[in-house]
Protein backbone atom coordinates (compact mmCIF):
# COMPACT_ATOMS: atom_id res chain seq x y z
CA UNK A 1 0.00 0.00 0.00
CA UNK A 2 1.24 3.48 -0.77
CA UNK A 3 0.54 6.89 0.65
CA UNK A 4 -2.61 8.67 -0.46
CA UNK A 5 -2.32 11.69 -2.72
CA UNK A 6 -6.02 12.51 -2.70
CA UNK A 7 -6.28 15.91 -1.05
CA UNK A 8 -10.03 15.67 -0.41
CA UNK A 9 -9.92 12.76 2.03
CA UNK A 10 -9.86 13.12 5.80
CA UNK A 11 -6.22 12.77 6.81
CA UNK A 12 -7.27 11.14 10.10
CA UNK A 13 -7.01 7.73 8.44
CA UNK A 14 -3.50 8.22 7.03
CA UNK A 15 -2.00 5.43 9.15
CA UNK A 16 -5.18 3.46 9.89
CA UNK A 17 -4.32 0.62 7.54
CA UNK A 18 -1.04 0.00 9.36
CA UNK A 19 -2.49 -0.41 12.86
CA UNK A 20 -1.29 -3.99 13.27
CA UNK A 21 2.30 -3.19 12.28
CA UNK A 22 2.40 -0.08 14.44
CA UNK A 23 1.21 -1.94 17.53
CA UNK A 24 3.43 -5.02 17.31
CA UNK A 25 5.50 -5.77 20.46
CA UNK A 26 4.65 -2.48 22.15
CA UNK A 27 5.25 -3.67 25.71
CA UNK A 28 8.57 -5.36 24.83
CA UNK A 29 9.90 -2.35 22.95
CA UNK A 30 8.81 -0.01 25.73
CA UNK A 31 10.51 -2.23 28.28
CA UNK A 32 13.74 -2.26 26.29
CA UNK A 33 13.54 1.44 25.45
CA UNK A 34 14.50 0.74 21.86
CA UNK A 35 13.63 2.79 18.80
CA UNK A 36 11.36 0.57 16.65
CA UNK A 37 13.16 0.63 13.31
CA UNK A 38 10.70 -1.77 11.64
CA UNK A 39 7.82 0.46 12.65
CA UNK A 40 9.68 3.47 11.29
CA UNK A 41 9.57 1.79 7.89
CA UNK A 42 5.80 1.54 8.36
CA UNK A 43 5.65 5.24 9.22
CA UNK A 44 7.59 5.94 6.02
CA UNK A 45 5.27 3.78 3.92
CA UNK A 46 2.14 5.32 5.41
CA UNK A 47 2.97 8.71 3.94
CA UNK A 48 2.26 10.60 7.17
CA UNK A 49 5.67 12.30 7.04
CA UNK A 50 4.70 13.94 3.73
CA UNK A 51 1.38 15.45 4.78
CA UNK A 52 2.32 19.14 5.44
CA UNK A 53 5.01 19.56 2.81
CA UNK A 54 4.78 21.17 -0.59
CA UNK A 55 4.28 18.87 -3.55
CA UNK A 56 7.40 20.10 -5.30
CA UNK A 57 9.44 18.45 -2.54
CA UNK A 58 7.40 15.24 -2.56
CA UNK A 59 4.84 16.25 0.03
CA UNK A 60 1.05 16.24 0.00
CA UNK A 61 0.59 19.97 0.41
CA UNK A 62 -1.93 19.66 3.23
CA UNK A 63 -2.76 22.49 5.63
CA UNK A 64 -1.76 22.76 9.28
CA UNK A 65 -5.15 21.59 10.55
CA UNK A 66 -5.17 18.69 8.08
CA UNK A 67 -1.74 17.71 9.37
CA UNK A 68 -3.02 17.94 12.94
CA UNK A 69 -5.84 15.62 11.94
CA UNK A 70 -3.35 13.11 10.47
CA UNK A 71 -1.34 13.13 13.70
CA UNK A 72 -4.51 12.81 15.77
CA UNK A 73 -5.15 9.68 13.71
CA UNK A 74 -1.65 8.43 14.47
CA UNK A 75 -2.25 8.92 18.19
CA UNK A 76 -5.57 7.11 17.94
CA UNK A 77 -4.14 4.18 15.96
CA UNK A 78 -0.67 3.66 17.42
CA UNK A 79 -0.14 2.73 21.05
CA UNK A 80 3.59 3.32 20.69
CA UNK A 81 3.67 6.86 22.09
CA UNK A 82 7.45 7.07 21.74
CA UNK A 83 7.26 6.32 18.03
CA UNK A 84 4.41 8.83 17.68
CA UNK A 85 6.53 11.47 19.41
CA UNK A 86 9.54 10.80 17.19
CA UNK A 87 7.25 11.07 14.17
CA UNK A 88 6.00 14.54 15.10
CA UNK A 89 9.59 15.57 15.86
CA UNK A 90 10.57 14.39 12.39
CA UNK A 91 7.89 16.55 10.77
CA UNK A 92 8.46 19.65 12.86
CA UNK A 93 12.10 19.85 13.95
CA UNK A 94 13.81 20.43 10.63
CA UNK A 95 11.34 19.89 7.78
CA UNK A 96 8.84 22.64 8.55
CA UNK A 97 11.64 25.05 9.47
CA UNK A 98 13.42 24.43 6.18
CA UNK A 99 10.19 24.79 4.23
CA UNK A 100 9.50 28.18 5.84
CA UNK A 101 13.00 29.62 6.23
CA UNK A 102 15.53 27.48 4.34
CA UNK A 103 17.41 28.62 1.28
CA UNK A 104 16.95 26.87 -2.07
CA UNK A 105 20.06 24.72 -1.68
CA UNK A 106 19.02 23.38 1.72
CA UNK A 107 15.40 22.75 0.83
CA UNK A 108 16.09 20.94 -2.44
CA UNK A 109 18.92 18.91 -0.93
CA UNK A 110 17.24 17.79 2.26
CA UNK A 111 13.46 18.14 2.18
CA UNK A 112 12.73 15.19 -0.13
CA UNK A 113 14.76 12.87 2.11
CA UNK A 114 13.16 14.25 5.27
CA UNK A 115 9.70 13.82 3.80
CA UNK A 116 10.44 10.21 2.84
CA UNK A 117 11.89 9.50 6.29
CA UNK A 118 15.20 8.44 4.77
CA UNK A 119 16.90 11.10 6.89
CA UNK A 120 15.85 11.29 10.53
CA UNK A 121 15.90 14.74 12.09
CA UNK A 122 16.15 16.48 15.43
CA UNK A 123 16.34 20.03 16.67
CA UNK A 124 18.67 20.94 19.49
CA UNK A 125 17.69 23.81 21.76
CA UNK A 126 17.94 22.65 25.39
CA UNK A 127 21.32 22.73 27.14
CA UNK A 128 22.49 21.30 30.46
CA UNK A 129 21.99 24.69 32.12
CA UNK A 130 19.17 26.07 29.95
CA UNK A 131 15.86 24.30 29.71
CA UNK A 132 12.73 26.28 28.98
CA UNK A 133 14.73 29.53 28.96
CA UNK A 134 15.84 29.36 25.33
CA UNK A 135 17.17 32.91 25.37
CA UNK A 136 19.81 31.73 27.82
CA UNK A 137 21.44 29.44 25.24
CA UNK A 138 25.23 29.42 25.66
CA UNK A 139 26.30 27.23 22.73
CA UNK A 140 28.01 29.61 20.33
CA UNK A 141 28.62 30.01 16.61
CA UNK A 142 31.59 32.23 15.79
CA UNK A 143 31.96 33.63 12.29
CA UNK A 144 35.26 32.63 10.65
CA UNK A 145 35.48 33.69 7.02
CA UNK A 146 32.83 31.87 5.01
CA UNK A 147 32.18 29.47 7.89
CA UNK A 148 30.83 29.43 11.41
CA UNK A 149 32.52 27.47 14.20
CA UNK A 150 30.14 25.96 16.76
CA UNK A 151 31.02 25.06 20.36
CA UNK A 152 28.89 23.93 23.28
CA UNK A 153 26.60 21.20 24.54
CA UNK A 154 22.95 20.33 24.01
CA UNK A 155 20.93 18.06 26.27
CA UNK A 156 17.62 16.10 26.19
CA UNK A 157 17.44 16.19 22.41
CA UNK A 158 14.59 14.09 21.05
CA UNK A 159 15.68 11.81 18.18
CA UNK A 160 19.35 12.82 18.59
CA UNK A 161 20.71 9.26 18.98
CA UNK A 162 19.14 8.25 15.65
CA UNK A 163 19.28 11.59 13.83
CA UNK A 164 21.08 12.10 10.52
CA UNK A 165 20.42 15.82 10.50
CA UNK A 166 20.22 18.32 13.34
CA UNK A 167 18.99 21.90 13.49
CA UNK A 168 21.05 23.64 16.16
CA UNK A 169 19.91 26.80 17.95
CA UNK A 170 23.06 28.65 19.01
CA UNK A 171 24.20 32.05 20.14
CA UNK A 172 25.61 34.43 17.52
CA UNK A 173 25.04 37.69 19.36
CA UNK A 174 24.47 39.31 22.74
CA UNK A 175 21.54 38.37 24.99
CA UNK A 176 18.19 39.46 23.63
CA UNK A 177 15.75 38.42 20.93
CA UNK A 178 18.28 38.65 18.10
CA UNK A 179 21.13 36.81 19.75
CA UNK A 180 20.26 33.34 18.40
CA UNK A 181 20.69 31.73 14.99
CA UNK A 182 19.93 28.31 13.48
CA UNK A 183 22.32 25.98 11.68
CA UNK A 184 21.65 22.74 9.86
CA UNK A 185 24.36 20.18 10.57
CA UNK A 186 24.84 16.60 9.40
CA UNK A 187 25.53 13.92 11.96
CA UNK A 188 29.00 13.02 10.71
CA UNK A 189 30.34 16.59 10.75
CA UNK A 190 33.78 16.59 12.45
CA UNK A 191 33.57 17.80 16.06
CA UNK A 192 29.92 16.79 16.51
CA UNK A 193 29.32 13.95 18.97
CA UNK A 194 25.99 12.40 19.87
CA UNK A 195 25.60 10.61 23.18
CA UNK A 196 23.97 7.27 23.91
CA UNK A 197 20.18 7.19 24.41
CA UNK A 198 19.20 8.28 27.93
CA UNK A 199 16.98 5.92 29.90
CA UNK A 200 13.74 7.60 30.88
CA UNK A 201 10.32 7.30 32.49
CA UNK A 202 8.06 7.47 29.45
CA UNK A 203 8.12 7.79 25.65
CA UNK A 204 10.79 5.13 25.99
CA UNK A 205 10.95 4.18 22.31
CA UNK A 206 11.73 7.77 21.33
CA UNK A 207 15.50 8.12 21.77
CA UNK A 208 16.70 11.13 23.75
CA UNK A 209 20.32 12.19 24.03
CA UNK A 210 23.04 14.80 24.38
CA UNK A 211 24.88 16.53 21.55
CA UNK A 212 28.38 17.95 22.00
CA UNK A 213 29.88 20.50 19.62
CA UNK A 214 33.63 20.90 19.70
CA UNK A 215 34.86 23.29 17.00
CA UNK A 216 32.19 22.16 14.52
CA UNK A 217 32.85 24.08 11.30
CA UNK A 218 29.86 24.70 9.03
CA UNK A 219 29.58 26.85 5.92
CA UNK A 220 27.50 30.01 6.27
CA UNK A 221 25.13 28.54 3.67
CA UNK A 222 24.02 26.08 6.39
CA UNK A 223 22.56 28.91 8.43
CA UNK A 224 18.76 28.79 8.28
CA UNK A 225 17.25 32.25 8.16
CA UNK A 226 19.02 35.51 8.80
CA UNK A 227 21.72 35.74 11.46
CA UNK A 228 19.90 36.62 14.68
CA UNK A 229 16.56 35.21 13.53
CA UNK A 230 16.80 32.11 15.77
CA UNK A 231 14.31 33.24 18.38
CA UNK A 232 11.75 34.29 15.78
CA UNK A 233 12.16 30.94 14.01
CA UNK A 234 11.81 29.18 17.34
CA UNK A 235 8.60 31.05 18.15
CA UNK A 236 7.22 30.21 14.69
CA UNK A 237 8.04 26.53 14.89
CA UNK A 238 7.03 26.03 18.53
CA UNK A 239 3.45 26.96 17.69
CA UNK A 240 3.41 24.18 15.12
CA UNK A 241 5.30 21.72 17.32
CA UNK A 242 2.76 22.13 20.10
CA UNK A 243 -0.24 21.86 17.80
CA UNK A 244 1.09 18.79 16.00
CA UNK A 245 2.51 16.82 18.91
CA UNK A 246 -0.52 17.47 21.10
CA UNK A 247 -2.85 16.45 18.28
CA UNK A 248 -1.23 13.05 18.75
CA UNK A 249 -2.14 13.35 22.43
CA UNK A 250 -5.76 14.06 21.47
CA UNK A 251 -5.87 10.83 19.47
CA UNK A 252 -4.36 8.93 22.38
CA UNK A 253 -6.91 10.42 24.79
CA UNK A 254 -9.80 9.54 22.47
CA UNK A 255 -8.61 5.94 22.25
CA UNK A 256 -8.26 5.79 26.04
CA UNK A 257 -11.78 7.11 26.55
CA UNK A 258 -13.22 4.43 24.27
CA UNK A 259 -11.25 1.76 26.13
CA UNK A 260 -12.56 2.99 29.46
CA UNK A 261 -16.17 3.03 28.21
CA UNK A 262 -15.80 -0.59 27.04
CA UNK A 263 -14.26 -1.58 30.36
CA UNK A 264 -17.02 0.15 32.31
CA UNK A 265 -19.70 -1.60 30.28
CA UNK A 266 -18.24 -5.09 30.42
CA UNK A 267 -16.47 -5.37 33.77
CA UNK A 268 -18.95 -6.34 36.47
CA UNK A 269 -18.64 -5.98 40.23
CA UNK A 270 -21.31 -6.66 42.84
CA UNK A 271 -23.64 -7.88 40.12
CA UNK A 272 -23.58 -4.98 37.70
CA UNK A 273 -21.25 -3.26 35.21
CA UNK A 274 -18.86 -0.90 36.98
CA UNK A 275 -20.15 1.87 34.70
CA UNK A 276 -23.43 1.71 36.58
CA UNK A 277 -21.67 3.20 39.59
CA UNK A 278 -21.40 6.96 39.54
CA UNK A 279 -17.88 6.77 40.96
CA UNK A 280 -16.86 5.29 37.62
CA UNK A 281 -19.36 6.87 35.22
CA UNK A 282 -18.55 10.39 36.39
CA UNK A 283 -14.85 9.76 35.85
CA UNK A 284 -15.65 8.74 32.30
CA UNK A 285 -17.97 11.73 31.79
CA UNK A 286 -15.12 13.97 32.93
CA UNK A 287 -12.83 12.17 30.47
CA UNK A 288 -15.26 12.94 27.65
CA UNK A 289 -15.31 16.60 28.69
CA UNK A 290 -11.49 16.61 28.78
CA UNK A 291 -11.20 15.05 25.32
CA UNK A 292 -13.64 17.47 23.71
CA UNK A 293 -12.10 20.46 25.50
CA UNK A 294 -8.70 19.42 24.19
CA UNK A 295 -10.16 19.06 20.69
CA UNK A 296 -11.71 22.52 20.75
CA UNK A 297 -8.53 24.19 21.98
CA UNK A 298 -6.38 22.37 19.45
CA UNK A 299 -8.46 22.96 16.34
CA UNK A 300 -9.60 26.49 17.24
CA UNK A 301 -5.96 27.45 17.82
CA UNK A 302 -4.85 25.57 14.71
CA UNK A 303 -7.38 27.54 12.65
CA UNK A 304 -6.09 30.83 14.09
CA UNK A 305 -2.47 29.96 13.31
CA UNK A 306 -3.48 28.78 9.85
CA UNK A 307 -5.31 32.07 9.22
CA UNK A 308 -2.21 34.01 10.24
CA UNK A 309 -3.91 35.42 13.33
CA UNK A 310 -2.03 36.02 16.54
CA UNK A 311 -2.31 32.89 18.65
CA UNK A 312 0.52 33.19 21.16
CA UNK A 313 -1.72 32.93 24.22
CA UNK A 314 -3.92 30.30 22.58
CA UNK A 315 -0.95 28.03 21.86
CA UNK A 316 0.36 28.26 25.42
CA UNK A 317 -3.13 27.60 26.79
CA UNK A 318 -3.67 24.68 24.41
CA UNK A 319 -0.43 23.02 25.45
CA UNK A 320 -1.31 23.38 29.12
CA UNK A 321 -4.93 22.25 28.79
CA UNK A 322 -4.19 19.20 26.63
CA UNK A 323 -1.13 17.93 28.51
CA UNK A 324 -2.81 18.23 31.90
CA UNK A 325 -6.01 16.60 30.62
CA UNK A 326 -3.90 13.76 29.24
CA UNK A 327 -2.18 13.11 32.56
CA UNK A 328 -5.43 13.34 34.53
CA UNK A 329 -7.34 10.99 32.25
CA UNK A 330 -4.43 8.53 32.13
CA UNK A 331 -4.48 8.30 35.92
CA UNK A 332 -8.27 7.89 35.92
CA UNK A 333 -7.94 5.09 33.38
CA UNK A 334 -5.62 3.17 35.72
CA UNK A 335 -8.22 3.53 38.45
CA UNK A 336 -11.05 2.36 36.19
CA UNK A 337 -9.04 -0.67 35.07
CA UNK A 338 -8.10 -1.45 38.68
CA UNK A 339 -5.53 -4.19 39.14
CA UNK A 340 -5.13 -4.83 35.42
CA UNK A 341 -4.54 -1.12 34.88
CA UNK A 342 -1.57 -1.40 37.20
CA UNK A 343 -0.01 -4.12 35.03
CA UNK A 344 2.44 -3.19 32.28
CA UNK A 345 0.92 -5.68 29.85
CA UNK A 346 -2.35 -3.76 29.45
CA UNK A 347 -0.55 -0.57 28.41
CA UNK A 348 -2.73 1.55 30.69
CA UNK A 349 0.09 2.40 33.10
CA UNK A 350 2.39 3.32 30.20
CA UNK A 351 -0.06 6.09 29.32
CA UNK A 352 0.60 7.68 32.71
CA UNK A 353 4.38 7.56 32.26
CA UNK A 354 4.09 8.96 28.75
CA UNK A 355 1.66 11.69 29.80
CA UNK A 356 4.06 13.12 32.38
CA UNK A 357 6.41 14.05 29.55
CA UNK A 358 3.74 16.22 27.96
CA UNK A 359 3.72 18.59 30.91
CA UNK A 360 7.47 19.09 30.43
CA UNK A 361 8.44 19.02 26.76
CA UNK A 362 7.71 21.92 24.39
CA UNK A 363 8.18 24.28 27.33
CA UNK A 364 7.02 23.25 30.80
CA UNK A 365 3.48 24.10 31.78
CA UNK A 366 4.87 26.50 34.37
CA UNK A 367 6.63 28.38 31.58
CA UNK A 368 3.47 28.36 29.48
CA UNK A 369 1.61 30.06 32.34
CA UNK A 370 4.45 32.58 32.70
CA UNK A 371 4.18 33.24 28.99
CA UNK A 372 0.44 33.82 29.14
CA UNK A 373 0.88 36.17 32.10
CA UNK A 374 3.63 38.05 30.32
CA UNK A 375 1.59 38.39 27.14
CA UNK A 376 -1.17 39.86 29.29
CA UNK A 377 1.35 42.47 30.37
CA UNK A 378 1.82 41.03 33.84
CA UNK A 379 5.57 40.53 33.56
CA UNK A 380 7.32 37.26 34.08
CA UNK A 381 10.61 36.29 35.64
CA UNK A 382 11.12 33.53 33.12
CA UNK A 383 9.44 31.86 30.23
CA UNK A 384 10.77 33.36 27.06
CA UNK A 385 11.44 30.80 24.38
CA UNK A 386 9.44 27.69 24.97
CA UNK A 387 10.12 24.43 23.28
CA UNK A 388 11.02 20.82 23.34
CA UNK A 389 14.67 19.90 23.66
Amino acid sequence: MTATTDTTTDTFDTVAAWAEDLNRDNATLDDRGEFPWEKWKTIQRSGILAVPFERRYGGEGRSLTETMRALEGLGYTSRDAGLNFSTSTQIVSVGLVLQAFGNEELTTTYLPKIISGELITAHAITEPTNGSDATGITTTARRDGDDYVLDGEKMFITNAPIADLLLLYVRTGPPGPFGLSCFLVERDTPGLRIGEPLDKMGLRTSPLGAVTLDGVRVPASRRVGQEGAGFLILDHIMKREILLSFSITLGEMTHRLERCVRQARTRTQFGQPIGAYQAVSHKIADMKIAVETARKWLYDTGAKVEAGEDASIDVAATKTVVSEANLRTALDAVQIFGGSGFLSATGVEADVRNAVGGTIYSGTNEVQRNRIASLLGLGSPAGEGVRRG
Partner: protein, 85 residues
Protein backbone atom coordinates in the same frame (compact mmCIF):
# COMPACT_ATOMS: atom_id res chain seq x y z
CA UNK B 1 -1.64 60.36 13.48
CA UNK B 2 1.27 59.19 11.32
CA UNK B 3 2.56 55.63 11.48
CA UNK B 4 5.77 56.52 13.30
CA UNK B 5 3.77 58.23 16.06
CA UNK B 6 1.43 55.25 16.34
CA UNK B 7 4.33 52.83 16.78
CA UNK B 8 6.11 55.18 19.15
CA UNK B 9 2.97 55.53 21.30
CA UNK B 10 2.56 51.77 21.42
CA UNK B 11 6.17 51.24 22.52
CA UNK B 12 5.90 53.93 25.19
CA UNK B 13 2.66 52.48 26.45
CA UNK B 14 3.64 48.79 26.38
CA UNK B 15 7.36 48.77 27.12
CA UNK B 16 8.14 52.02 28.93
CA UNK B 17 5.22 52.06 31.36
CA UNK B 18 3.76 55.09 29.60
CA UNK B 19 6.80 57.25 30.34
CA UNK B 20 7.95 58.93 27.14
CA UNK B 21 11.68 59.53 26.76
CA UNK B 22 13.42 61.99 24.45
CA UNK B 23 15.92 59.29 23.40
CA UNK B 24 13.18 57.33 21.67
CA UNK B 25 13.87 58.62 18.19
CA UNK B 26 12.90 56.73 15.05
CA UNK B 27 16.37 55.18 14.81
CA UNK B 28 16.70 54.33 18.52
CA UNK B 29 17.73 50.65 18.78
CA UNK B 30 14.91 49.04 20.74
CA UNK B 31 16.69 45.74 21.13
CA UNK B 32 20.21 46.83 22.00
CA UNK B 33 18.84 49.27 24.56
CA UNK B 34 16.74 46.57 26.21
CA UNK B 35 13.36 48.19 25.51
CA UNK B 36 12.01 45.11 23.73
CA UNK B 37 13.06 41.69 25.01
CA UNK B 38 12.24 38.29 23.51
CA UNK B 39 8.67 38.03 24.74
CA UNK B 40 8.28 41.72 24.03
CA UNK B 41 9.12 40.93 20.44
CA UNK B 42 6.35 38.33 20.35
CA UNK B 43 3.95 40.95 21.76
CA UNK B 44 5.13 43.52 19.22
CA UNK B 45 4.61 41.14 16.28
CA UNK B 46 1.19 40.25 17.63
CA UNK B 47 0.27 43.94 17.92
CA UNK B 48 1.43 44.74 14.40
CA UNK B 49 -0.49 41.78 13.01
CA UNK B 50 -3.73 42.78 14.71
CA UNK B 51 -3.49 46.55 14.29
CA UNK B 52 -2.39 46.61 10.68
CA UNK B 53 -4.17 43.42 9.54
CA UNK B 54 -0.96 41.74 8.45
CA UNK B 55 -1.17 37.93 8.71
CA UNK B 56 1.55 36.73 11.09
CA UNK B 57 2.90 34.42 8.39
CA UNK B 58 3.36 37.44 6.10
CA UNK B 59 5.55 39.28 8.58
CA UNK B 60 9.17 38.78 7.50
CA UNK B 61 10.92 37.35 10.54
CA UNK B 62 14.12 39.27 10.02
CA UNK B 63 15.88 40.95 12.93
CA UNK B 64 16.47 44.04 10.78
CA UNK B 65 12.71 44.68 10.61
CA UNK B 66 12.28 45.13 14.34
CA UNK B 67 15.33 47.05 15.52
CA UNK B 68 13.79 50.53 15.55
CA UNK B 69 10.65 52.49 14.77
CA UNK B 70 11.90 53.44 11.33
CA UNK B 71 12.36 49.83 10.21
CA UNK B 72 9.12 48.67 11.79
CA UNK B 73 7.24 51.36 9.87
CA UNK B 74 9.07 50.49 6.66
CA UNK B 75 7.97 46.88 6.65
CA UNK B 76 4.41 47.78 7.61
CA UNK B 77 4.29 50.11 4.61
CA UNK B 78 5.67 47.35 2.39
CA UNK B 79 2.98 44.93 3.50
CA UNK B 80 0.40 44.54 0.70
CA UNK B 81 -2.55 44.64 3.12
CA UNK B 82 -1.33 47.62 5.15
CA UNK B 83 -0.24 49.46 2.03
CA UNK B 84 -3.67 49.07 0.45
CA UNK B 85 -5.51 50.10 3.60
Amino acid sequence: MDLETQIRDYIVSEFLSGEDVPDLTDDFDLIENGVVDSLGLVRLISHLSKTYAIPVDDIPLLPSNFRDIEHICAFIRQSPVAASG
